[in-house]
């Protein structure tokens, strides 16, 4: 129920709406819960609303943490 998935903003629309790309699927969502979104930014989407912007730098840091914790044998 609290599932939220990453989506790329491809177009800003009137009424705090946006078109996003979710792994090849284009969908209209609401940006009413966020401020100052721009095309090209990643957000996580839950029941048709962007809940939060996704921070690409933090994502890289977390992936690096996995790789450091469990280096290739």
């Amino acid at each position: 129920m609290c599932l939220a998935i990453p989506a790329l903003i491809t177009e800003l629309r009137e009424g705090e709406l946006a078109r996003v790309d979710m792994g090849g699927v284009s969908k209209e969502i609401s940006l009413a819960l966020l401020n100052d979104c721009e095309v090209g930014e990643w957000v996580i989407v839950h029941v048709g609303y962007a809940l939060r912007k996704l921070d690409p730098m933090e994502s890289e840091k977390t992936l690096l943490l996995f790789a450091t914790a469990a280096p290739s044998l």
């Binding site: 979710m22 792994g23 609401s30 048709g48 609303y49 939060r52 977390t62």
Partner: protein
């Protein structure tokens, strides 16, 4: 897909599991509760429990909003749906949760009630605009992730001057449910060593509401994402904290979770909703200040007030162990009706309905490979 596949790398997952096995102290047990149904689903779907050493046990928590609503809530929605002139809008999962005598919103739709499955709260608002002659009720359920979208449409209904849109509010609060698990007499307490904290709830309310479970209650808490590597990393961090005797809040999900959360969403929730004095949860009983209702300023959008709905307390089916499963006191396969009478096609209890319910997750992915076999498990 970017930001998903990288967190599902099977090779890296197996290597992380090796690290976990090496770091886990063979002389002790680690009982870790994942609060969220989404985490339960990922654990089952990717078979993560089978990668863990035997002394690391995952206990499924009450974080499935469909599962924790008591039968009385379903009955209230069924009552509304059956009234002439009402269109009841609901997220899909709620349609199959059984009320009294096996009644569901799905069955009442088949019997002629106007029940619509929606994806977004905006769909419900659109339906209200398209049908001014009907009263459109949105069956609002869910934790703090799903609450801000409800707040948005209540405000939007006011802006549009809609007179036929209402909300049947059953929004519930995550920290209150965690307290509900912990604040019980010692005899009833489920032994837990640490918590995997809610990921998407924390994107909204921030990580800070969970700090007190470390500082006041003394449990390590790791907030994490919903991909398999996120969960394995959280398990590793919990084991480390326990080995080192620490009880801290750690945030693995920093790509979307901050300490303060989404302030705009929080402000919207505070404007539209206020705390209920108490709320009945399936499995956890009546918990104080654990759910939300519409503020008096928004009473015209409150279905509970406009239809004078009173919720009755209805006991679960006698054979159903959902209550114990939700508290982490029993595993799905320890329920006598699991996978026999109660299946996802014909659920007896709520935990078998949503794909995030512990019973449905175990039925779909894990039931032939039980980590803790019991005599109650039917043969495949």
């Amino acid at each position: 897909m970017k930001y998903l596949e990288a967190f599902r790398d099977g090779d890296l997952a197996r290597r992380l599991a090796v690290v976990i096995a090496a770091e886990a102290d063979a002389r002790r047990r680690y009982r870790l509760m994942e609060f969220c149904g989404g985490h339960t689903h990922t654990l089952a779907r990717y078979g993560l429990e089978r990668l863990l050493p035997d002394n690391v046990e995952m206990i499924h928590g009450p974080g499935c909003p469909v599962c924790v609503l008591p039968t009385g809530c379903i009955e209230a929605a069924l009552d509304l749906a059956r009234r002439p002139g009402v269109i009841l809008c609901s997220y899909g999962d709620m349609l199959r949760v059984p009320g009294k005598n096996g009644a569901t919103l799905m069955k009442s739709r088949a019997a002629g009630a106007d029940v619509r499955m929606i994806y977004s709260t905006l769909d419900a608002l659109n339906i209200a605009q398209e049908h001014p002659e009907h009263e459109v009720v949105f069956f609002a359920i869910g934790f703090e992730t799903t609450t801000p979208p409800t707040a948005v449409v209540v405000k939007e209904a006011r802006r549009l001057g809609l007179k036929n849109f209402m909300v049947l509010c059953n929004h519930v609060l995550t920290p209150a449910a965690m307290e509900g698990i912990l604040d019980v007499p010692a005899a009833e307490a489920v032994h837990v060593d640490g918590f995997i904290g809610p990921g998407h709830v924390s994107t909204v309310i921030g990580s800070h509401p969970f700090e007190r479970f470390a500082s006041n209650y003394g449990y390590p808490v790791v907030i994490t994402g919903f991909e398999p590597l996120d969960i394995l990393q959280a398990i590793r961090q919990l084991i480390r904290q326990l080995n080192e005797g620490r009880a801290e809040l750690e945030n693995e999900y920093s790509r979307v979770v901050s300490r303060e959360g989404n302030l705009k969403a929080q402000a919207l929730m505070a404007e539209v909703f206020e705390l209920r004095d108490e709320f009945e949860w399936r499995g956890l009983g009546i918990l104080p200040h654990s759910a939300l209702k519409l503020r008096a300023a928004f009473a015209e959008y409150d279905a509970e007030a406009r239809f004078a709905i009173t919720q009755e307390a209805i006991p679960d089916h006698k054979a159903c162990e959902c209550a114990a499963v939700l508290r982490g006191a029993k595993r799905p396969e320890q329920c006598k009706v699991f996978a026999t009478v109660c299946t996802p096609d014909n659920p007896l209890g709520s935990c078998m309905v949503s794909s995030e319910g512990a019973c449905a997750a175990h039925y779909s992915y894990g039931r032939f490979v039980n980590t803790a076999p019991t005599s109650n498990v039917p043969s495949p």
